[in-house]
Structure formats: structure tokens, C-alpha cells
Amino acid sequence: MFDETPCEAIILRYTNYGEADRIVTLLTREHGVCSAFARNARKSRRRFGGALQPFSRVRVSWQQRRRAGMAQLAEVEFLDGAGALLANLDALALAAYGCELVSALLPEQHPAPEVYQVLDAFLCYLPVAESFPTARLLLELRLLDLAGLLPHIGHCASCWQPLRDEWLLFDARRGGTLCPRCCQDRAGVVVQATTLGSLVRLLRVEHHLFSGIRLSDQTLEQGAVLVQQAVGYSVSHPLKSEQFLDLLDGGHNGVLA
């Protein structure tokens, strides 16, 4: 049963529906990722104004539903916009990726207070980010962890023994990190134990903290490969916003530089 109490939400995306309406995908603490129907959202600027733009933090009131079906928005109060994000293309592209990743990793209508906190902190941090690659790695790592999809990184996924070797292999399809004894075929991404140690330590940091975290080039490089492989394995389809990130990186030395 969908609780129709007004709640705070982050707009993840919207799709135009018919001539005047929109279907909005939201992230709320109470319902997690959920879709809602915004009647006349395109036709009437007064109904929702600019509040339904992606990355906006809003307070939503739900329309009382007479029968089962998609939730419907009655009112949306704008709390915070994406104003600061709109001044930086790399930040904006990474924000889009973050929203799409949340939609892709989380099931619909499951409470997700921690994911809400992570995404909210991530979107607030991006306009002042010291390092976009660090922000991306932190977001991916935390979302995989909160969604219960993070492969084993603190011990061997096959024999469950602590990782004692300096070099190890990682293969998301086989559960995560594998010690050399369990991975005789040498298939997988080569990763240093120190990188895995850093990733494990990062998971102990409070999830809403993005600022002030500095990672070595090695952790960033190997961590990104490892986590992105895990993301690719966890989501059912390639993320569209990731192609845009790659485009910016390839052409202009941006997000992933």
C-alpha cells in the first residue's frame, strides 16, 4: 500500500506523456525510487513550475488514488534546484549519471533513506567538487553497497580466506576478488591488495561525506575499473548517461581525467 503522506523527493528524470502530462521518476526516503504521474505538467507552468527538472529537491503531495495504478502528483513544492550544477558541464553530466545509476540499481518502491542521503549529498557536492573521479567512485561504491550488489572486496569470493597476496584478481561475475589459488585461469582484472584495502576503508566512511576525501592515483584507477565492472554486471542495460560522460572525457579531458 502506497503511503500518500507528503514527503521530500529528488527528481531523477521525467518523460513527456501525451500532449500535456509527464511521468516523473523520483527518489524518496519512504518509497525509494518511484514513478508518478504529473497531470498537465507541460501545459501549465503554474501547476509545477520548474520544480520537476532533474536533480531538484522537492516536497511532493500525492493525489488521493481511487484505484491501483501509478501514483499521481497533486502539488510539488520546490526546495533546492540544480542551479549551481547548471554552471558546470562535467558536474551536470555526472549528476545525470548518478540519478540514472540510482534508478538502475534500486528496485522500485522500497524505502531507501540511506540512498536518498547519499544522492542528496552527491548532488550538493558536485558544484564544488575537488575531484570528479573521486566523487564518482564514492557514489558507485556506496550505491552498490546499499543496494546489496557490491561484490566481495575484503576477502576471496571463492574460499572466503582473507586476502594476503600483494596482487589479486577481480571478476564481478565470479563474486568479486579472487586469490591466486582460486583463480588459476588468471581471468579477471588485476588489482593490488592496497587498492582493495582503501575501498574497504572507504565503505566505513559516513555515506554522506564526499568532501575532503583524497585517493591515490592507484586507488582511483584500479578502483574505477573494478567498481565500473561491478556496476556493469549489476545493471541490466548500458547507462545512457555514461556514454555522455565518456564523450566529455574523450574530447575534453573532463570528468574522468
Binding site: A51, S56, G81, L86, L89, L92, A93
Partner: protein, 199 residues
């Protein structure tokens, strides 16, 4: 009921493919066409046929036109140094209705949308860069909509055009003329405050 009249069924089906036209409206329109004289129905058919035959995109600005280059690209009284970039031909028409702009145009035919997988290759971005590189443009006015996608497109264009050493400007935005502050939404008021200017 309509299935026993195949011609009418076909017309309803075709009209129903138009945006915003449901089955009921399509049926009403089909009956309206049926009640028209042969000459009126022929005029409608000719108009649709002519649009498809004669209207194409201008090879310079990509606006809709019956002659290439279009009248806006060949008009002698327009300023070649000013180039206004818009999302769609309808946006160009809206700016023309303002009677305040006398430069040239470039229609992108869309906006970048990372969440929908629309990238620069899907728009007329390369053509714009080439046009600015070749021509005598001094200022590019980015007039994409004030949505996240429109802003992303503006930032991307700015990044692509900056090496060409042209002035890049963005349309001002804020409170609409004649509106009451009381009824303006929070996001617009916020952006208007951020974009305030000296008087």
C-alpha cells in the same frame, strides 16, 4: 461500428497518429472531412502533399524552408556577425515574433539529453562549429530552453565554440513580462534573483 466502412476507418486510424489526437477526436475530424465539399477535401490533400514535396531544411541554418538557402539566411538586412542558436524551428519563430533580433539563426533540432542518450551527433552541432569557423560570426547567442537539457547543451556549445574566439552569450531569464511575482514559481524566482542586474 466503423469497421464496416473501411475508408473511414483508415482515415480515423491515420488521423489518430497525430500528436494529441485520440480516437474520439480522430473520429470527429474524420466525420468533419466527410461533410466537407470535394474542393475543400482536395485543398487539404494538396496542402499535405505540398508540405511534403516542397518543404525541407535549409542547408545553412536548418530551419524549414521552401527555398535553399532560406529567406532568413539570404536577407541582406540581417547581421552576419550575430548567430542565434535554437533547439527547434518553432523556437526560431518565437524569437522572430519578438521583432528584437536581426541576426542569423542555427537550428539544432534537439538538445543534449544524457538521460535519454541524445548526444551531439544527434544534433546539428558539427554544422554549427563549422559555420562559426568558416563565417564572420562575432557573437553566438545560445537560445536553448531553460531546462537541464537546454543548459547542458548551452554549456557543451560554449565548450566547443570557445577555441574559435567568438563571444558566446545566453538568453536572459527570469520573471515574464506582465506577470505577478506572487504567482511565479520558486525555481524561476530563484534564477531571477541570481541573474539580477544593475539599474
Amino acid at each position: 461500428m466503423l469497421s464496416s466502412i473501411p475508408s473511414l476507418t483508415r482515415l480515423v486510424a491515420e488521423l489518430g497518429k497525430f500528436p494529441g489526437i485520440g480516437r474520439k477526436t480522430a473520429t470527429r475530424l474524420a466525420f468533419y472531412v466527410l461533410q466537407q465539399s470535394d474542393a475543400q477535401a482536395q485543398a487539404l490533400m494538396d496542402a499535405i502533399h505540398d508540405v511534403k514535396q516542397n518543404v525541407s531544411y535549409c542547408s545553412r541554418c536548418f530551419h524549414v524552408t521552401e527555398q535553399d538557402p532560406c529567406a532568413l539566411c539570404t536577407a541582406m538586412d540581417r547581421d552576419d556577425a550575430l548567430l542565434c542558436v535554437v533547439e527547434q524551428p518553432q523556437d526560431l519563430m518565437a524569437i522572430e515574433r519578438g521583432h528584437a533580433y536581426r541576426g542569423r539563426y542555427h537550428v539544432l533540432h534537439g538538445v543534449l539529453s544524457p538521460l535519454d542518450g541524445v548526444g551531439p551527433d544527434d544534433l546539428k552541432v558539427d554544422e554549427l562549429v563549422e559555420r562559426v569557423r568558416r563565417g564572420c560570426v562575432e557573437e553566438v547567442i545560445v537560445a536553448t530552453n531553460f531546462s537541464v537539457e537546454g543548459e547542458a547543451t548551452a554549456l557543451y556549445l560554449s565548450r566547443m565554440l570557445q577555441p574559435l574566439e567568438v563571444k558566446i552569450t545566453r538568453l536572459a531569464h527570469g520573471i515574464p513580462m506582465g506577470s505577478d511575482l506572487e504567482y511565479v514559481d520558486e525555481a524561476t524566482v530563484g534564477r531571477a534573483i541570481e541573474g539580477r542586474r544593475d539599474i
